[in-house]
């Protein structure tokens, strides 16, 4: 508690005139003397004033009674107590800085340039600059005009300042650490969970309260946390609904919390996608693989683009993501509608195609129940046969679709054409791919896998045959963008979805 917070420091016990001075005794025992000159306006004579006093002020009355000068305890203290005077000077500087800082924050938040604001408020750009730099000689009338030019009132401004003071304990670095502990990686958070226009680096850890509030809004939307949970002392926990529903392949060495957090994020995105494609018509799923294959046209090549078209046409949403990390894809049944999340860092169309078909099998075979899910916590391995029956079945389905159920026949043709010599295989793959109307990238991947079973490493050649242009991620993004209707979601949700789909 400061001296000036004590009422005895403020309360006047006795005050009297003594020549050209006033003597004041405060209730705390302080006796002070101040010259009338320091109090009276310049145009008034110092003589013959009468003085009366109350607990918190003295009143000087001119002989004619026409002038009354009221002097509060604070003014007497500023003139006689160096410490209190310093306190007021510091508060003045700090308040001017705060006003300048807040005004700038609000201007930037409203995305208005300083010159533009000056023009709107009919003040000079120097006035804006002076206020923002913390000058003290600005009238409220000017401040009011400037705020009005941003459609704000003094009350809005004061409330904003009050809110900021109450939230001074909010600290961005504290939030980052808390999020990290809950499984949300900083890089991911900065890239995907806060709007791009917020450049955190600009604030070197001291992120303004209005931006912190905005960031809080995004976290609340995605993770369903309250303000208290986000900023309070308790650790953040990820709602396990998304992962609890999952038909999980639990990773052996990975960070479970990260997968859980990312799964929740992907689940939230899936719900947004469902919401924003609510008007999309649904079709009956094919009863068997032959019926599904026919959707590509008899003998037609199965490309990633064509497959996306078929899948979207069935009413199944496909969301492409390209974040780093341990989550590799998922499928959800949300209220009877299906969403497939593809997450790949590769640019190979064949790999994206395989993953899509693999997930599609889960949709057809394992996600009949409302609110069921499959989350791929490890990279989808097209060649896996032993880890789980469901995974092996999904791989087998993908291969059958890709090779039109003639996998062995096509493989034999390739090998025979190459005269069973590795050095001839590349040419034979190119030829057979054309003859059978199969992607040479798809065929070479399968061949490399089969050769690997014999101890032959042919992956280098297979990689050189991968089709990467156009980038599969961009292809999938185009599909989702063409299918989304952002009128069905709010601006925060739309921003989250936009950020998710930005590379």
């Amino acid at each position: 508690m400061n001296t000036w917070d004590n009422e005895k420091y403020q309360r006047i016990e006795v005050a009297k005139l003594s020549g050209n001075s006033i003597e004041v005794l405060f209730e705390n025992g302080d006796e002070v003397r101040l010259s009338l000159k320091t109090i009276l306006p310049q145009n008034l004579d110092e003589e013959n004033f009468d003085l009366i006093f109350y607990s918190y002020e003295i009143i000087l009355i001119s002989p004619s009674g026409s002038n009354e000068i009221k002097v509060p305890w604070s003014q007497i203290r500023v003139l006689t107590d160096v410490e209190f005077s310093k306190h007021m000077a510091l508060e003045s500087e700090s308040q001017a800085n705060e006003v300048g800082k807040k005004l700038r924050e609000l201007r930037e938040w409203k995305n208005i340039k300083a010159n533009e604001l000056a023009e709107r408020a009919s003040v000079t750009p120097q006035t804006i600059s002076r206020i923002e730099r913390g000058h003290t000689d600005i009238s409220f009338a000017t401040l009011k005009k400037i705020l009005a030019a941003m459609a704000l009132t003094l009350k809005d401004f004061a409330e904003y300042q009050l809110k900021y003071e109450q939230s001074e304990e909010k600290n961005f670095n504290y939030l980052l650490k808390k999020l990290n502990r809950s499984g949300i990686d900083t890089n991911f958070f900065l890239r995907k969970l806060i709007p791009r226009r917020i450049d955190i680096n600009e604030y070197s850890g001291q992120v303004p309260s209005l931006l912190l509030d905005e960031i809080t809004t995004y976290l609340k939307a995605i993770f369903n946390w309250s303000n208290e949970q986000i900023w309070g002392p308790e650790e953040l926990t990820i709602n396990v609904n998304a992962s609890k529903l999952a038909f999980y392949k639990r990773p052996a060495h990975s960070n479970f919390y990260q997968i859980q957090a990312y799964s929740h994020y992907a689940y939230y995105l899936s719900k947004l996608v469902i919401k924003s494609t609510i008007n999309k018509s649904l079709k009956d799923y094919p009863d068997n693989i032959e019926e599904f294959r026919l959707k590509f046209g008899k003998g037609e090549k199965v490309t990633f683009e064509k497959c996306l078209s078929v899948v979207w046409d069935l009413g199944i949403c496909v969301v492409p993501l390209r974040d780093k990390g341990l989550f590799h894809g998922a499928s959800w049944n949300i209220g009877g509608r299906h969403v497939i999340i593809l997450k790949q860092t590769s640019s190979s169309q064949a790999k994206w195609l395989f993953d899509l078909l693999h997930e599609l099998y889960h949709v057809f075979a394992h996600l009949e129940d409302d609110n069921s899910a499959v989350i791929e916590s490890e990279e989808i391995n097209p060649w896996i046969t032993t880890e789980s029956i469901e995974e092996a079945e999904a791989n087998s389905f993908a291969h059958k679709v890709l090779f039109d159920d003639k996998t062995e026949q096509i493989l034999s043709k390739c090998l025979a054409l190459a005269k069973y010599k590795v050095e001839n295989l590349k040419r034979s793959v190119e030829k057979v791919a054309i003859e059978e109307n199969i992607g040479e990238d798809v065929l070479s991947n399968y061949l490399a896998y089969r050769l690997s079973l014999q101890g032959e490493n042919w992956w280098g050649t297979a990689n050189s045959l991968q089709k990467t242009d156009p980038d599969p991620y961009s292809i999938a993004k185009e599909f989702i963008k063409n299918n989304l209707n952002k009128n069905f979601i709010n601006p925060i949700e739309a921003n989250i979805l936009t950020m998710a789909l930005e590379d």
């Binding site: 009422e7 403020q10 002097v71 003014q75 209190f84 508060e91 004061a158 003071e165």
Partner: protein, 72 residues
């Protein structure tokens, strides 16, 4: 001078004051609080402001600011 009167307190602003802009809240039980304007930070005084008082002040902020401009 007294510029506003409410049930529990009155608001005073004086002429010729040093910055920061400020006002006095004088409670009828005898306390005086020195407050900055417009953010109502306590610059001196024992009392703690409750939300109701802040809201009253916010509702009258325009008038309080005008008075400060007029007297200072």
């Amino acid at each position: 001078m007294q510029i506003l009167v409410f049930n529990q307190f009155s608001v005073y602003i004086y002429a010729g004051q040093v910055p920061p802009p400020h006002c006095h809240l004088r409670f009828y039980d005898g306390n005086d609080i020195l407050l900055s304007i417009p953010n109502f930070k306590v610059l001196g005084g024992e009392n703690t402001l409750d939300e109701d008082i802040i809201n009253i002040l916010l509702d009258n902020l325009d008038y309080i600011c005008n008075k400060w401009d007029e007297l200072n």
